[in-house]
Amino acid sequence: MSTPSRYWREIPQRYRLEANKCNRCKLIFFPPRLLCPECKNRDLEKTKLAEKGEVITYTIIRVPPAQFSDQAPYAVGIIELKDGVNLTGQIVDCAFDDIKIGMKVKLEFRKLFEQGHAGILCYGYKFVPD
């Protein structure tokens, strides 16, 4: 099991959706990096992810990783947010048959899984119908 620091240092982006905006090419990207993936510029500022977007692809996970075994089956998609950022996350609070490419969704803060029996509860973002 990892030490809590591995979890703790991801909190700004996972809980507060902190992303970066490049001050040269204006690209917004997530997760934060030390240089802009497009123009390699290091002059970046913090910004918050747009919280709405649409599904660009999705799947239903039927055979899950161990720590997600009590949740399967569940939907995971790649969502294109309004600020142009793409990210991977679960799509919840809707029937699988209602999930379509182009479906409008928004980000919500949720519990993702538990790290073992005595481990920490891991939180982050999921997508729900908008």
């Binding site: 799947t59 239903i60 039927r62 569940y74 790649i78 793409n86 899984f113």
Partner: protein, 384 residues
């Protein structure tokens, strides 16, 4: 740079090899390659292994395997780029021989995957994805390829049946490969009705968990000529990277690393897609073969599904793909796969592929891929 030739190949029957350890599987295979080359000493060795640490709890395997192979104190190097580790082992061996640093190099790969249970194997394979931003969200490896498949179906009209036909074709080819893990035919219906893993992919869209190794001995072409060996030259090599998180790619239906690696290999070999007689590609999932054939330029972008349906990539087709049975039927011990592709192409170019021999095969290609396409290694081989 010196010309480089493959003078020995080795592979044993792949599968769930409960009785054999990683080191046994490896040594048995490497010895076959040494015997095939007619030599007993090497100058250096490379071993592709994705995750011996997670699969058998053992790191530092390069020295271990050099020892058990009776080759101490040769330099031995383990290389890792997820499922493309084997291909990378050949590329580094190639560089060492081509540069003149060494003459005889063993390029090899191994993975012992069944010493752990299913959950642990799933975890180990999952580490090839972005653990913090893909794995953390509950995605699995089949899940990542399922995301690619759905996007490809949406963008190009690729059908569920076309995906199934990749598996059917590769099992048909694997039937004629005595070393394949799964030597049986499957039907489109069987694929469509098999257990769902990550929609739209079912279990028969996925390559299996496998124990196995593969080995190739390379040396300068001039030395190979003096040994009177059939001259199978490595005439092109390419290696490229992409984001390991698929959501970060501009077009997730397009395998840019494979395209870039192929571009390098074609340029070095001075060949074009139409010069290639057969290809071994990384069909870890059915959708992967479709995307790879597009990235290699043997079919147009978006036409990979139609191509398999039309039989273009079948054994009797214009360009046979995965005559060995591919990862789907032959098995996928991740670190070994890239070298097994070279073993198959070398057999074909030597005319030793038996029942699955491609007539007059002279130029062959291998494409090995890491993760969901975050790395790719391509080689072109030619019989002189």
């Amino acid at each position: 740079m010196r010309d480089v030739a493959v003078i020995g190949i080795g592979m044993t029957k792949w599968g769930e090899l409960w009785k054999k350890s990683l080191r046994d599987i490896y040594v048995e295979t490497a010895l076959l390659a040494l015997e095939d080359a007619g030599i007993d000493r090497i100058d250096s060795m490379y071993i592709g292994s994705m995750s011996s640490g997670l699969f058998v709890g053992q790191e530092h395997i390069a020295s271990l395997l050099a020892d058990y192979l009776g080759q101490l104190p040769v330099p031995a190097t383990r290389v890792e780029t997820a499922c493309a580790s084997g291909g990378l082992a050949l590329r580094l061996g190639f560089m060492e021989v081509a540069s003149g640093m060494s003459d005889v190099v063993l390029a090899s790969g191994v993975e012992k995957m069944t010493d752990v249970g299913g959950d642990e194997a799933t975890y180990a394979l999952g580490t090839a994805a972005d653990q913090e931003y893909e794995g953390y969200q509950g995605i699995t490896f089949p899940g990542l390829y399922a995301l690619i498949a759905r996007a490809h179906m949406q963008k190009y009209g690729t059908t569920r049946e076309q995906l199934a036909k990749v598996a059917v074709k590769n099992h048909h080819n694997g039937l004629k490969n005595p070393l394949a893990q799964y030597q049986f035919e499957i039907t489109v219906e069987a694929v469509l009705n098999s257990v769902k893993v990550a929609d739209p992919l079912n279990i028969l869209d996925c390559s299996p968990i496998t124990d196995g190794a593969a080995a190739a001995i390379i040396c300068p072409a001039d030395m190979a000529r003096k040994m009177g060996k059939p001259l199978i030259k490595v005439i092109g090599t390419g290696h490229a990277t992409d984001t390991i998180q698929i959501s970060q790619r501009k077009d997730m239906t397009w395998l840019e690393a494979t395209y870039q690696a192929a571009k390098q290999a074609y340029a070095m070999a001075d060949k074009k897609p139409e010069d290639i007689d057969l290809i071994e590609v990384h069909d870890c999932f059915t959708i992967a073969e479709i995307c790879v054939t597009e990235a290699l330029g043997i079919v147009e972008k978006g036409k990979g599904g139609e191509a398999v349906e039309a039989g273009l990539t079948a054994m009797e087709g214009k360009i046979p793909v995965n005559t060995s049975g591919g990862l789907k039927s032959k098995g996928h011990p991740v670190g070994a796969t890239g070298i097994a592709q070279v073993v198959e192409v070398t057999k074909q170019l030597r005319g030793e592929a038996g029942e699955r021999q491609v007539k007059d095969a002279r130029v062959g290609m291998t494409q090995n891929m890491g993760g969901s396409g975050g790395s790719s290694v391509v080689h072109i081989l030619e019989r002189e």
